[in-house]
Amino acid sequence: MSIDIAANPYKKDFPLLVKHPDLAFLDSAATAQRPEVVLAAEREFYETMNANPLRGLYELSIRATESIGNARKHIAAFIGAGEENYRDIVFTRNTSESLNLLAYSFAPTVLEEGDEVCITIMEHHSNMIPWQQACKRAGAKLVYLYCDENGQISEEEMQKKIGPKTKIVSAVHVSNVLGVENPVKRLAELVHAQGGYMIVDGAQSVPHIKVDVKDLDCDFFAFSGHKIFGPMGIGVLWGRHELLDAMPPFLTGGEMIESVSEQDAVWSEVPEKFEAGTQDAAGIYATDAALTYVEQIGLDKMEEREAALMAYLAERMEELPYIEVVGPKDPAKRYGAFSFNVKGVHPHDVSGILSGENVAIRAGHHCAQPLLLYMGMHTCCRASVAFYNDKHDIDSLIDALDVLGGMFNVK
């Protein structure tokens, strides 16, 4: 590998990491840190264009409205939807809300009793519970695609589970536990052949992989800004225009109407139809800035560095005989997330003790309880990397695990 992971030219961009120089932050899959430019953008919005977007007819409000439009254009281009299709970008609070929007507004338009919705066993609860509920409401069946111990879903499994009754396949693009990339393009092909629709949960893929929704040929794509260095509270839903257009609104109220009478209302067009109430315009503006930051560094460069970090992490983990790796052994198959258990030590104790050593990792069920049960465990630990991590962070993790091994006598 030609990448120097000991050097870290990126840390200085992140105020929290600068303030905590001894912290090994290895939980970016839960939420990333934000660079100074994102924090500055949030402030800039309030200082220079704060007014309620859409409502006012004066200069400030027009600027606020424009900034939201620009963010839509940027996001549409970023995920390969095409800048010209920016009005198919709907803002929500997070990926969960984007998926709920689909489960409430889209699912009833296609699901009938006896139909099937197909998801993978590695879904985050946010792409599982909305479908459990949607299926219950429609009298439909929720069908699971199972993976092998390396997190791979076979062609045979996909062929077996996707059939004439399948109206929706909703799959996580990259698993938050296993880090594997799912064959969403193939799933789209299979479900389209049956006349159904493809939804992709991109919360964990957008920060690591160049996404092209046209190439994936999916019908909807959801992700969250906070995992790609934007502020918390901004979710995105992209959908094919004709589908969004035909769907009823999810939440109703201000800003999502064309006209209102005492007993009825006419909806606004897409995307406003799905954006009831005042949006977090400053957050949207800052999300735009986060994408600019990513583009300036280059997503491909980030991906390369993350792959090098992941390879080093996997190599160092092998030194510790008491580590049980969860998911693929091949680090090249992991985007960001490395899950593991320490033999005989509860993950909460692992993360608690690591915290004492200034190493932040996630422990628990990772909002993927059915996946962990399927893999034969209740909980596990997860170290996740972003491009702003370095060799030292991983060495700190290994040193801390070594301390833990001594404390619990698991050597």
Partner: protein, 154 residues
């Protein structure tokens, strides 16, 4: 982000109770048993009590389950503490312990009554682990309040 709190939680006593719990077994002739779930992680514990309902004395307490070191050590300390105590005393100790974990200061006398369990006081400064320390005690409260209801119904 100081090291002291997290590491000090894992005291020698806690590590010992975790590694060699005296009371981790299924109590075959339990009078009461109750499942407790730590909602923050999904960990489950079953608590067993053998109570002499004539004298209202807990004769034996034990637990089972796959839980973290803090939950396990706390349960083991509790089971040892409860043995031979009256139901009323168990309720008082539970109040003291949960109060302590919620941040109440205890008198030296109360600390003495909680014995080793008083050492878990530092967990009150770690909100993420409060539920772990409380799990056994909250499960105990579940048994005791159900018992109260049963007796009131008779």
């Amino acid at each position: 982000m100081s090291n002291s709190t997290t590491t000090s939680i894992y005291s020698a006593a806690l590590m010992d109770h975790n590694a060699h719990p005296d009371y981790k077994y299924e109590l075959e002739d339990a009078t009461y048993s109750h499942d407790g779930i730590n909602a923050s992680c999904g960990d489950e514990m079953t608590l067993y009590l053998k109570v002499n309902n004539d004298t209202n004395v807990i004769e034996e307490a034990s637990f089972t389950g796959h839980v973290c070191a803090i939950s396990q050590a706390s349960a083991d300390m509790m089971a040892g503490l409860l043995e031979g105590e009256s139901i009323e005393e168990a309720k008082r100790l539970s109040g003291l312990f949960i109060g302590m974990i919620q941040g109440n200061e205890l008198s030296d006398e109360d600390k003495e009554d909680l014995d080793e369990a008083a050492e878990l006081q530092s967990i009150s400064r770690m909100p993420a682990r409060v539920k772990c320390a409380e799990l056994a005690w909250r499960t105990l409260n579940g048994i005791l309040s159900e018992r109260d209801k049963e007796l009131a119904g008779k």
